[in-house]
């Protein structure tokens, strides 16, 4: 029983991790909160749903995931161009980033609302066998797939950041954007890379959220907050911290929901998150917290 909960918790946490990292990547490098990330996730959930349903027989799941990831990237780059690029180029006050990301978050959700109403679409059955057993424990196929894909993507990302040339450039920009530019790092390449990463993560997260929780316009934004807060608890300067915190959050949520109840669990989760922000705002592993001089 406990093992069952743990596995559920980790797979919930895995989705939170995808969201958290998608948010953290923009936050660390571009230094603003991309509220529109939630909207991207919702849009991708819908995209994956319609893609899956568009073909008969339905395409293999990994094809859907890939397709949605690509769409997520396109969407992310689109949003950057329309919403953030002007602000970046004109060097406008940071507060406009807040407003634009917020506006796009609302816009995407409302557009989805208008076209698809508040119906919940259920994802069609994806796998031949929904569960499998190892020994006496029942595993849900979907949970395993989510776990596996998340591990692959996040590991690939960490490798990218730490072992490649472009990853080095990204880390340099995270530390000091001006100096990096002076040293010849092409900022628009970095920006494109960052938003592509965020887009891929949003796409994959969208698919999984759609599958696990149903496809509806506010699926992204409602999960987004938990993902964001996970990345803060993990420490905004650190991607692995965000992943770790997200998984912890997933576990806590599953256990709380099981033992206390869903509504109470939500309140306690928020209380924990707020408490954490009060007590240790730099997170477990984070650095940049106080406003710099």
């Amino acid at each position: 029983m406990a093992l069952q909960l743990i596995i559920n918790g980790i797979s919930v946490g895995a989705i939170y991790a995808l969201i958290a990292v998608g948010f953290a990547v923009v936050f660390n490098i571009m230094r603003f909160s991309n509220f529109a990330h939630g909207g991207m996730i919702s849009a991708c959930a819908f995209i994956s749903f319609f893609f899956q349903r568009a073909f008969d027989p339905p395409p293999p799941f990994y094809v859907t995931i890939l397709f949605t990831a690509v769409c997520g990237t396109i969407l992310a780059l689109l949003i950057d161009t329309v919403a953030y690029r002007r602000i970046r180029i004109k060097n406008s006050p940071k507060i406009y980033y807040f407003l634009m990301s917020l506006t796009f978050a609302i816009l995407i959700e409302q557009v989805l609302n208008v076209f698809y109403g508040t119906n919940m679409y259920g994802f069609p059955k994806v796998f031949q066998s929904e569960t499998f057993m190892i020994g006496s424990i029942i595993f849900k196929t979907m949970n395993m797939v989510i776990l596996a894909v998340s591990v692959v993507i996040l590991s690939a990302l960490i490798l990218l950041i730490n072992k490649t040339k472009i990853g080095l450039a990204i880390r340099a920009v995270a530390i000091n954007a001006d100096t990096s530019r002076l040293m010849g790092i092409n900022s628009s390449v970095i920006v494109t890379t960052i938003f592509s990463i965020a887009g891929i993560l949003a796409g994959v997260a969208g698919v999984f959220l759609g599958v696990q929780y149903g496809v509806y316009p506010s699926v992204g934004p409602s999960m987004m907050l938990k993902g964001f807060i996970a990345s803060i608890i993990g420490g905004l300067g650190s991607l692995s911290g965000a992943i770790f915190a997200a998984i912890a959050l997933g576990l806590i949520e599953i256990f709380l929901t099981f033992f206390i109840g869903a509504t109470e669990a939500t309140v306690i989760m928020f209380a924990i998150m707020l408490g954490f922000l009060f007590i240790r705002p730099q997170g477990i592993a984070g650095k940049f917290v106080e406003d710099k001089a």
């Binding site: 816009l107 707020l274 406003d291």
Partner: protein, 303 residues
């Protein structure tokens, strides 16, 4: 004037007063918060739930609710206003969601998502609302033209430079945040009285976002901009009620319209419609004089 029109005016006034409070917080002091709706929720729920269950008149529990708003905003402000703006914004979102979650948790008392209804009628609600609006605009206008307003604008601009003039940035932000939250709490009570029912989904961060959009539309540096913007954008859905698109009244698209409008403004006139300017009586007077002069000149040229 019929009841519908009165209800509309009250609704607009409530919107304007909340945006005016946000002007003080975001426009003057640069704090980007998405939690104002949470204080409206606290104001509304505490006032009427306590009133019903403890059988106390709501104007007494209302005072309690406002005090609670002040206390809570102080508790939130003290640890978070030391942190960077992004943290503060996220915390206000989290706080907002937590209040909604709490309302759902205490379903037994708040009736949860069904809504807390049968809120008593208030006689003269229109006059109370108008009076409150005038008072709050009076306060915020005075705030802007006082030393606190100047210090706030300075710190919004450049916190380090502000501190180098002895400005206690941290404590000033706290004071303004508490003031804005208290006004929001009061606005929440009025909203409950107008609607006669309170539901948790009118208090999420999406609602706070709408008000921020109103503020930026008019211009974060202009109080009159904030007032006119909130009033006209709130009125807009009424004017387009009879126009339909895809079979639904344009009204349903109002959020999308707001979003598109603000995207246009940020891209083409980022300082907002009014920018830095305030519409004053002097300004209106000048406009009238200039108009008079041009008509007089025209007449002269025909002689």
């Amino acid at each position: 004037m019929n009841a519908y029109q009165i209800g509309l005016i009250i609704q607009i006034c409530i919107s304007v007063m909340t945006v005016v409070a946000i002007f003080a917080m975001t426009g003057l002091a640069g704090m980007f918060s998405l939690g104002q709706a949470a204080y409206m929720a606290i104001g509304a729920y505490i006032t009427f739930v306590l009133s019903r269950f403890l059988d106390i008149p709501y104007y007494l529990t209302g005072i309690l609710a406002i005090i609670l708003c002040i206390l809570l905003s102080w508790l939130i402000a003290v640890p978070t206003l030391k942190l960077r703006r992004d943290y503060f914004a996220l915390i206000t979102v989290g706080f907002s969601q937590m209040i909604v979650a709490l309302v759902l948790l205490f379903e037994e008392y708040t009736r949860g998502s069904i809504g807390f209804s049968k809120i008593p009628r208030a006689d003269n609600l229109l006059w109370i609302t108008l009076g409150a609006l005038v008072l709050f605009v009076f306060w915020i206008r005075n705030l802007k033209y006082s030393r606190f307003g100047r210090m706030a604008i300075a710190l919004k601009n450049d916190e380090i430079a502000a501190q180098s003039f002895g400005i206690d940035v941290y404590h000033l932000k706290i004071k303004i945040y508490i003031l804005a939250s208290a006004i929001a709490g009061f606005a929440g009570i009025l909203m409950a009285l107008r609607n006669r029912v309170i539901t948790p989904d009118s208090f999420g961060w999406a609602h706070s976002s709408e008000m921020q959009i109103f503020l930026f539309f008019g211009g974060t540096n202009s109080l009159t901009g904030a007032i006119l913007s909130a009033a006209s954008l709130k009125l807009l859905p009424e004017l387009i009620r009879d126009i339909t698109l895809f079979g639904t009244s344009m009204q349903e698209y109002r959020t999308i319209i707001y979003a598109v409008l603000i995207i246009l403004v940020i891209n083409f006139r980022p300082q907002g419609i009014l920018g830095e300017k305030e519409i004053t009586f002097k300004w209106v007077g000048n406009l009238i004089n200039r108009f008079k002069k041009s008509t007089v000149t025209e007449k002269e040229s025909y002689d």
